[in-house]
């Protein structure tokens, strides 16, 4: 059995303009030690997918249908109190902006210790000791427990966030754009750190808009577009030989300093999810769309990869 299995998950937001299907019928799975990247443009639903897994969707959002199996439990039907015990303890979360994801008024040690004491029976003293060890583990001096967030740099703070996320030894670590707010040098180091966490047997789910980063770091990539997973498969093959026209467009639009080739930007914009285009949601921007694309494309398996496109369906 897989560690995480998301089946036909749909998360909607009931807005005044109508219902937004931010995550629409998404299925994916992740095993121990896996490193999966979910890639897509802003607003494609990748963060909503991440927050759906830990059931932290703020009103007016809600999980409309689907199942999430995690380590023998079905999360969508779990009570809030049981879900709370999963959060932090079994699924750790790393956030986009380390400048704002730490409480400015509490010492680093207190913030780590509070999480530990919330889930286990450690005393405050023991919790602080673990906090010191955790900081050391992520490459920070242990005496940083006494610091306040404003005394640390962005990279250091993100290390603290990671230390906090792994302090309870969760089986899955979800990182929502963990390096977007950091410079490239720090980004490398943070990614190395995530990789170390993976080597300890954790599964990593990286949410990012940075295709190059996903390609470099992960085993598998899921490409999201307008709430759908349009392609998912092994990272290297997906990058070298993309199947879905959107994946191809995404790769062509990424500048590469090593190869002198023309950048081809994707024309158009992602659709309005209150009124998505009929049939395939990528159809209005797709260079190879045909009559068939007026109907929702099937999800097919090609070459060991999942792709949601009519191109691969023989008539």
């Amino acid at each position: 059995m897989m560690l995480l299995e998301v089946k036909n998950l749909t998360t909607i937001f009931k807005t005044k303009r109508g219902v937004v299907r931010a995550v629409d019928n998404v299925s994916l799975s992740l095993d121990k030690g896996d490193f999966l990247s979910v890639v897509g443009e802003s607003g494609c639903g990748k963060s909503t997918l991440a927050y759906s897994i830990i059931k932290l969707i703020d009103s007016p959002g809600e999980i409309a249908s689907g199942k999430i199996y995690f380590d023998g439990k079905e999360l969508t039907s779990l009570s809030e109190e049981k879900m709370r015990k999963v959060r932090g303890k079994e699924i750790g979360m790393v956030f986009q902006d380390p400048m704002t994801s730490l409480d400015p008024l509490e010492k680093i040690g207190d913030q780590i210790a509070e999480t530990l004491m919330e889930h286990t029976d450690v005393t405050k003293k023991e919790a602080w000791q673990i906090a010191r060890e955790m900081l050391e583990k992520v490459g920070l001096p242990p005496d940083r427990v006494d610091s306040y967030p404003h005394q640390l740099s962005g990279g250091q703070r993100q290390r603290v966030v990671i230390a906090m996320a792994v302090s309870l030894n969760p089986k899955l670590l979800i990182a929502d754009e963990p390096t977007t707010a950091l410079d490239v040098i720090v980004q490398e180091k943070i990614m190395d750190l995530l990789n170390e966490m993976r080597k300890e047997g954790r599964a990593i789910m990286l949410i990012t808009h940075d295709f190059a980063l996903a390609a470099e770091r992960s085993d598998r990539i899921a490409v999201m577009y307008a709430g759908w997973i349009v392609e998912m498969g092994e990272a290297e093959r997906l990058t070298k030989d993309p199947l879905h026209p959107y994946t191809r467009g995404l790769i062509d639009s990424v500048p590469d300093v090593w190869v002198d080739r023309e950048i081809k930007p994707l024309p158009g914009f992602p659709p309005d999810l209150v009124k998505p285009p009929e049939g395939c949601r990528f159809r209005p921007r797709c260079p190879v769309a045909t009559e068939r694309c007026m109907k929702e494309p099937p999800g097919v398996e090609v070459d060991g990869r999942y792709v949601k496109c009519w191109l691969y369906e023989v008539e």
Partner: protein
């Protein structure tokens, strides 16, 4: 922790120049104002020799720099001079007769306003966008715009005249005063275990402090609501939840963060309260500093007015010191 200590010491030292500037300003302003204090007190028709004698007694015939130095020396030894009317009592004694009344009213009004503000503001924030929220926001605007004498009289009519539940003026029923220890009747009644006095003092405090409390709560309602909504949408609150921290504790952290600007307002409000109590005091015949100051301004009791202003200024400087220290204790970003 040493940075905190350094901050507190620095902040404490800053009180000295602040107070010196305040004292100098009070001295200058009272001397820049046209008109001679003695003539404005006793009138133009008094013979010049008598006026000279009065000026001499008050020390007003000395050169300004001597007056200034004497005044400073007086302030630092707790001597604010003598009142110029009614028995010429020391000003500090007059102030001590009236200040506890104002302080007591201010504390009760202040605590009430903060409590009402935090409760209504938090309810509004947690039910953002609901009818309750709209109700609280309307409350805050109405409370903020209420005119103290009008609202005070409304309460007097309702609770004093129609329902006959509460006294409409004064600090205590004559003969019920507790033994004086601090001058704060409620505190003194508790210290001397005098239940009758306690009930009587609280009954007299009720209407004026409710008036002050409600009028001043409007600003808190608004501030608490907006801050709490802002903090609740911050990433670190979501991060707490994502780490499985209990909702009760998440709310605690949110409140703590939302509270920082509220403390600034509390410091400012307390100073305004001391001055603003003037209206409440006159509405409820409260024998406090406001009543005293108005009375002495009318009689041109020059030294008493000067003394009262100096006293107020020092008190406000002290309050802002306390607020800044609390601020630093709560928010590590303030300490430098």
């Amino acid at each position: 922790m040493s940075s905190l200590r350094a901050y507190i010491i620095t902040r404490f030292l800053m009180v000295i120049p602040t107070v010196l500037i305040l004292l100098t300003l009070v001295f200058l302003i009272l001397r820049i104002i046209p008109g001679d204090p003695i003539t404005s007190m006793v009138g133009q028709k008094v013979p010049e020799e008598v006026l000279e004698k009065m000026r001499h007694e008050a020390g007003l015939d000395k050169p300004y720099h001597i007056q200034y130095l004497e005044y400073l020396a007086g302030v630092f030894t707790g001597n604010l001079g003598r009142s110029m009317i009614w028995g010429k009592r020391p000003v500090i004694a007059e102030i001590m007769d009236h200040f506890p009344a104002t302080l007591e009213l201010t504390i009760f009004g202040f605590v009430l306003s903060v409590l009402i503000g935090i409760i209504t503001g938090s309810i509004a924030a947690f039910r953002r966008g609901s009818k309750t929220d709209t109700g609280m926001r309307i409350y805050s605007i109405i409370a903020y715009t209420l005119f103290i004498p009008w609202f005070g009289m409304l309460l007097q009519m309702l609770f004093g005249v129609y329902l006959e539940l509460l006294p409409i003026g004064g600090r205590i029923t004559p003969g019920y005063s507790p033994e004086t220890i601090t001058g704060l009747y409620v505190l003194d009644s508790i210290l001397t275990l005098n239940l009758t006095s306690l009930v009587d003092a609280l009954a007299h405090l009720a209407l004026p402090s409710i008036t002050l409390g409600i009028v001043l709560s409007g600003a808190y309602t608004r501030l608490v609501r907006n801050n709490l909504i802002d903090v609740l949408s911050q990433d670190f609150i979501r991060a707490y939840r994502a780490r499985g921290v209990r909702e009760r504790k998440v709310i605690f952290h949110a409140m703590k963060n939302a509270f920082i600007p509220v403390i600034t307002l509390m410091g400012l409000q307390f100073a305004i309260l001391l001055a603003g109590a003037v209206l409440t005091e006159s509405t409820f015949s409260w024998p406090g500093m406001g009543t005293f100051l108005i009375e002495r301004i009318e009689y041109r009791d020059y030294t008493a007015v000067q003394g009262a202003i100096v006293f107020y200024a020092m008190f406000v400087a002290l309050i802002s010191l306390v607020v800044d220290v609390i601020y630093a204790l709560l928010d590590p970003r303030i300490r430098y």
